[in-house]
């Protein structure tokens, strides 16, 4: 049975195809991506997530935009908007933004390091499989790249009424989006599950 797998989208039972690194294994019936093996998947994902944590620290601690009008300067950091929403009585909305743009991306990066670093040296830490499960469930709810698009739209909107000064965090944020995208591409979850499998 080790050589068989069922498609998660159409349930077709099929032999696991031999796929070389960099190629994609597709379901022969519905075309779903079964898995895509990557070269140096572990190393690359670990390196990208370590870089990501550093960029994240910069992105959340410094102001990302400042607005200048008639002598007034107003700076905003990533958390400023969520704080203002909360003060305006939109606590639910503030929570959604905090979770999708601040918390989930951080949890994902930290969890991946917790899972992948020991795997690289041939071990696993307690709860790694459970955690990787959560990472995959949370995946669609981390929306930093959508927030990035939101920043671009806001900049165009605000450019009409005031001078916009990009802050340090903005550059870190742009780099972070690329690093997160790279991490998503280099992560081979099929391989991680196989390595995490501790059943006899």
């Amino acid at each position: 049975m080790k050589s068989l797998m069922a498609c998660h989208e159409c349930d077709l039972l099929q032999r696991i195809p031999p796929v070389s690194e960099g190629r994609v294994a597709l379901c022969s019936r519905c075309g779903a991506v079964l898995f895509r093996p990557k070269r140096n998947s572990l190393d690359r994902t670990i390196a990208l997530n370590l870089t990501g944590i550093l960029l994240y620290a910069v992105a959340v601690s410094f102001p990302f935009l400042a607005l200048k009008t008639q002598g007034f300067v107003r700076e905003a950091a990533l958390l400023t908007g969520m704080k203002v929403l909360y003060q305006q009585g939109m606590s639910g909305l503030a929570l959604v933004v905090v979770l999708t743009c601040i918390l989930f991306p951080l949890i994902e990066m930290l969890s991946l390091l917790y899972i992948l670093l020991p795997l690289k040296f041939g071990g696993t830490l307690p709860g790694a499989a459970r955690l990787f499960h959560s990472v995959q469930v949370l995946k669609p709810w981390g929306m930093m790249e959508v927030f990035m698009l939101g920043i671009l739209v806001s900049m165009v909107k605000l450019a009409k009424m005031a001078t916009i000064i990009p802050g340090t965090a903005l550059w870190a944020f742009v780099l972070l989006i690329f690093v997160l995208a790279g991490s998503a591409v280099s992560l081979d979850s099929h391989l991680v599950w196989e390595k995490l499998d501790r059943r006899p």
């Binding site: 998660h8 019936r29 203002v84 959604v96 933004v97 499989a129």
Partner: protein, 208 residues
């Protein structure tokens, strides 16, 4: 014709939807021994849950679009904007690229997503055999694009943070924003509840 394809269910096996482990069908419903996800031959109540979430999203879609998402004031005058009036304002002021982004993300994508999900649910209900591969593609599309609808919520978040200049200019979030976020989240859950394997089950039923 080639013989009908054999599915895990027909072979009395079960594939974990999350980690893709394939094991013999357990007698009792249980959890995947590898990743801990609940094992289901098919998502339980997939259709009913998907409908419930989808209908809730459709109802909230009205206040999301009718109520203002931002209330901006400058020098004593205040102006409320709904999603649509915001797009029209951007269009009139010449920012057609941004208007297009917001139109696609906030109006077109949520509506398209709800229409596709209704179509998929009805097609499964009617045991349709029509182009299962294309229907699976449509399903994948709704999962892929749904998150981008959040962009307007983030624009509001950034606007309220930056435009805070006392009497000079101020932007507040309106109630429409909260409804709109709820619509996006509900449609994401509705898509997640839908089990695409149901599309293919009908193909095997008919072969028998």
């Amino acid at each position: 014709m080639s013989p009908a394809p054999l599915t895990a269910r027909e072979a009395n096996l079960i594939g974990c939807r999350l980690c893709h482990l394939l094991i013999p069908m357990p007698k009792e419903p249980g959890h995947c021994p590898r990743c801990g996800a609940r094992l289901h031959q098919r998502q339980p109540n997939s259709i009913a849950r998907s409908w419930a979430l989808l209908i809730a999203a459709m109802i909230l879609y009205l206040p999301a679009n009718l109520l203002p998402i931002t209330i901006s004031s400058s020098l004593g005058t205040s102006q409320s904007d709904t999603i649509l009036s915001g797009v029209l304002y951007l269009l009139n002021s010449g920012s057609w690229a941004i208007a297009l982004v917001i139109f696609v993300a906030s109006l077109f994508v949520p509506l398209m997503k709800m229409v596709i999900l209704v179509f998929l649910l009805v097609s499964v209900h009617r045991r349709s055999r029509w182009r299962p591969k294309d229907r699976t593609r449509l399903y994948r599309l709704t999962e892929l694009v749904g998150r981008w609808s959040m962009v307007d919520i983030y624009v509001v978040t950034i606007m309220v943070a930056l435009v805070r200049l006392g009497a000079l200019a101020n932007v507040d979030a309106g109630p429409g924003a909260a409804y709109f976020a709820a619509v996006v989240i509900l449609t994401m859950f509705a898509a997640e509840s839908f089990d695409p394997r149901l599309i293919w089950d009908r193909m095997e039923d008919c072969d028998e």
